[in-house]
């Protein structure tokens, strides 16, 4: 479903993504992990057609991201880290706009929106009367997730999707993506919350400084490296192993 071949992105003198190669079959939830600045968001933006790769290639559902960007975009849903929305639209106006961009008929779009409202426990009155600028962070995230799934895409990219969601919504979201994957959707899930990734994802890709460090099933990788948990494995790989000692040393500087 997703084929990435030597994908590279260079900003000035900085290589953000460095010859990244992986492939993801349909129906898989893949955790995309890495420390800040590792190149996760840049990779997702390239796959979503928001950034032009410097070199390399990628295909989604058989369409090349460079040659057929509109075909790719019709088949993906993307929830960016910013969960940006047009703040001066109401939730309903925003979702109807998104539906129009994917040529979803108005009545079908309304039905779909109502299903999402019910799922996310949103109030229809809020959606029709309140402008998005007045929504809480969590509510905006729910609208952003809805807008990514409204057109029923076969591939979905999530960049920190749980940020701002309350505990119940997060539980519901995790169940949702597992069901979506079960029904054949491919999900690339970028997050810093490693225990969630460990529980939800079939597979993880760990990158650092734009390079792929590890690719495999979370439990197998943890066992192979004798790390105990995915979190410990992650810190071992990305130079955070000595973090606890550094934190202790730094805390001592506060003592009188």
């Amino acid at each position: 479903m997703i084929q990435v071949d030597r994908l590279t992105k260079i900003f000035g003198a900085q290589t953000a993504v460095d010859n990244l190669c992986f492939s993801i079959p349909a129906g898989q939830i893949v955790g995309f992990l890495g420390p800040n600045g590792a190149g996760k968001s840049t990779t997702l933006k390239m796959l979503a057609g928001m950034l032009e790769p410097t070199s390399g290639s990628a295909t989604l559902c058989g369409f090349d991201i460079r040659a057929q960007p509109l075909e790719v975009k019709r088949r993906i849903g993307f929830v960016p880290e910013s969960a940006a929305v047009f703040e001066s639209l109401t939730g309903l106006e925003y979702l109807e706009l998104i539906a129009a961009l994917y040529a979803i008929p108005a009545d079908a779009a309304r039905k779909r929106i109502e299903q999402f409202i019910a799922f996310f426990d949103l109030s229809f009155l809020t959606l029709t009367e309140k402008l998005l600028g007045a929504y809480s962070k969590g509510m905006r995230r729910k609208v952003a997730i809805t807008s990514a799934l409204l057109h029923n895409p076969p591939v979905v990219f999530f960049d920190e999707p749980l940020d701002g969601l309350d505990a119940n919504a997060a539980v519901g979201f995790k169940a949702l993506i597992q069901t979506l994957a079960h029904e054949g959707k491919t999900i690339l899930y970028s997050s810093h919350i490693l225990d969630v990734v460990e529980r939800v994802c079939h597979r993880v890709l760990i990158i650092d400084k734009g390079k792929l460090l590890l690719d495999g099933k979370p439990d197998e990788l943890v066992a192979q490296h004798d790390a105990g948990t995915l979190e410990r494995l992650f810190t071992q790989l990305t130079g955070g192993a000595e973090l606890e000692q550094r934190a202790a040393a730094f805390a001592k500087t506060f003592l009188p």
């Binding site: 800040n36 993906i76 960016p80 929305v85 703040e87 129009a100 108005a106 229809f124």
Partner: protein
């Protein structure tokens, strides 16, 4: 669950046009607003704005009974300035919005659809403005020499052409700036362009009636000078004159230039660059993606020149207190870098800075001190009040909540911040303007003794700068932008006019009775004592209560 009516299916293009018009009318960020409060306020606000343009366009009535080319030149000059002001202010936000790139770039929309939807909205609103401003002008044009009913449809067509020209020119300019200089510099360029256009518009609104009288006196002959082909409004005025006026050959040439240049610009801006529009938007995404990973930029170092300068003489003498220095640097950073602050402060003080210069232009050159030198003393007194207005405006900021950090710090009150703001405004705005005014006055009058007439205003500068801060008011960057009331600003400017009239009147009396020197000494003592006492009081004042 829902009782709302189901909307008919809409095409992606139509949905995009509707989106950008809604965003334009409502603004991009309206946190906390209910939709129910929008429908009544928005059309009202829009209608009032268009009514203002229509009323302002009423001054076109003064160009009646003139040759068509003169009336049309006045109308098109003013229209172009208003359109440039609107399009320059709106284009950046509409065309190159970072958040929008996050929302729309992953959607299946072609770059052409996206760009054209935005341009359609820009043009639509530009036409509303152009037609509102020209409401009176349509009829004035029919009354002048060569005037006939044909002026109405021809002028409507030339307005359409002019709107297209302005939109294409601004879009092309911004687009090229983005491609050549990158997003960060584009922000600075756009802000500077907007401030300049606003300042030029204000200056032109003073100059255009004078120029019209000048052209009228020449019987319209000057309006056919060869150099008019270099001025875009003259092309569209030529269009009016060619088809609904004198029909002179020169007018046809001007009209031809207008049509050709507009066609080329429109093709370049709307068609040729449409293909690269996505890459321009990608640049915006790129700048946000790469900002975290890029090494420190060289410009970051260049920004620190002021920080180094305040640690050395003579700025160190001007800012002896380290806390005041910090307040000065903060306010200077906002006055020089923050787009929102620059767009609020400079256009608001522009009329105050420009009007004295126009008064100077009306002075006769050379000669001994006479009654007509009064504009010198009045101009300097009026300029001296510019820091007052600048400080009133500087108190509003989109980042007003960040000011809470000073309230949390173990500091008595906002004294240091206010002192820094006063010194920043005096150094960046008041001193240079007064200096330029003095040079201009000397260039026009060639009489160095008359420069003494500027001193009543110059001496009053520190007092005028501290007045708005009395009682815990005008703390820089401390209030939300919504709290700014434009109506009170109008009253304030009227008050400034009275104060400067009083000050310059007293100064003029002293000058007439050869008592200027003792009067200046008295003023200096009064200003020094009052300012010192007020500054000490301010330094001890606690933070005012928050709303």
């Amino acid at each position: 669950m829902s009782s709302a009516p189901i909307a008919p299916p809409v095409s992606a293009n139509k949905a995009l046009r509707r989106l950008f018009l809604t965003l334009f009318l409502r603004g991009r960020s309206v946190r906390g607003l209910q939709k129910s409060r929008l429908p009544s306020s928005l059309p009202k606000k829009l209608a009032l704005t268009l009514l203002f343009y229509a009323l302002f366009g009423g001054i076109a009535a003064s160009t009646g009974n003139q040759p068509t080319i003169v009336t049309a030149l006045f109308l098109h000059t003013m229209t172009l300035l208003f359109l440039a002001m609107f399009i320059a202010a709106s284009s950046g936000e509409i065309l190159f919005n970072r958040e929008e790139a996050d929302i729309l770039l992953s959607r299946p929309i072609s770059p052409r659809s996206l760009l054209w939807a935005k341009i359609a909205v820009l043009l639509q609103v530009a036409l509303w403005i152009a037609f509102s401003f020209n409401l009176v002008g349509f009829f004035t044009g029919t009354l002048g020499t060569f005037g006939s009913w044909r002026f109405i449809p021809v002028h409507a067509a030339s307005l359409l052409l002019e709107s297209l020209f302005t939109a294409a020119a601004v879009v092309l300019l911004y687009h090229l700036c983005l491609l050549w200089f990158g997003r960060e510099r584009l922000d600075n360029i756009m802000t500077t362009a907007q401030v300049l256009v606003i300042v030029v518009t204000i200056a032109a609104s003073q100059a255009a009636p004078m120029a019209t009288v000048y052209f009228a006196k020449s019987g319209g002959d000057l309006a056919r000078s060869w150099w008019l082909v270099l001025i875009p409004p003259a092309w569209f005025a030529g269009f009016d004159d060619a088809l609904a006026g004198s029909g002179a050959i020169t007018s046809f040439m001007l009209a031809g230039a207008g049509v050709v240049v507009t066609a080329i610009l429109a093709w370049a801006a709307f068609d040729n660059l449409a293909a690269t529009y996505t890459s321009s938007l990608q640049q915006i995404v790129e700048s946000s993606s790469s900002s975290r990973t890029r090494p420190a930029r060289a410009s970051g170092d260049s920004r620190r020149w002021l920080e180094r300068a305040v640690e050395r003489a003579p700025l160190r003498w001007y800012l002896p207190d380290p806390m005041t220095r910090r307040g000065f640097l903060l306010c200077t950073a906002y006055l020089l870098r923050d787009r929102d602050t620059k767009l609020r402060v400079y256009p608001s003080i522009a009329p105050m800075l420009i009007i004295p210069f126009f008064m100077l232009l009306n002075l006769r050159g050379g000669g001994a001190p006479t009654g007509d030198a009064f504009p010198l003393i009045f101009g300097a007194s009026y300029l001296a009040l510019s820091p007052t207005l600048a400080l009133f405006t500087l108190q509003y900021s989109q980042q007003f909540q960040a000011c809470d950090i000073f309230r949390l710090a173990p500091i008595t009150g906002p004294g240091f911040l206010c002192a820094g703001a006063r010194r920043a405004v005096l150094l960046l705005i008041a001193f240079p303007t007064v200096l330029i005014f003095a040079i201009a006055a000397y260039a026009i009058r060639h009489n160095p003794t008359e420069l003494l007439l500027l001193l009543p205003g110059v001496l009053a500068l520190p007092l005028f700068a501290i007045l708005p801060q009395i009682g815990g008011h005008a703390i820089p960057l401390s209030r939300p932008v919504d709290a700014a009331k434009s109506t009170s600003r109008g009253l304030m400017i009227f008050g400034f006019l009275l104060i400067s009239l009083a000050l310059s009147g007293l100064g003029w009396l002293a000058y007439t009775f050869h008592l200027l020197l003792p009067a200046l000494i008295l003023e200096a003592i009064f200003v020094f004592t009052t300012t010192t006492l007020l500054a000490r009081h301010l330094a001890r004042s606690p933070w005012p209560e928050t709303d």
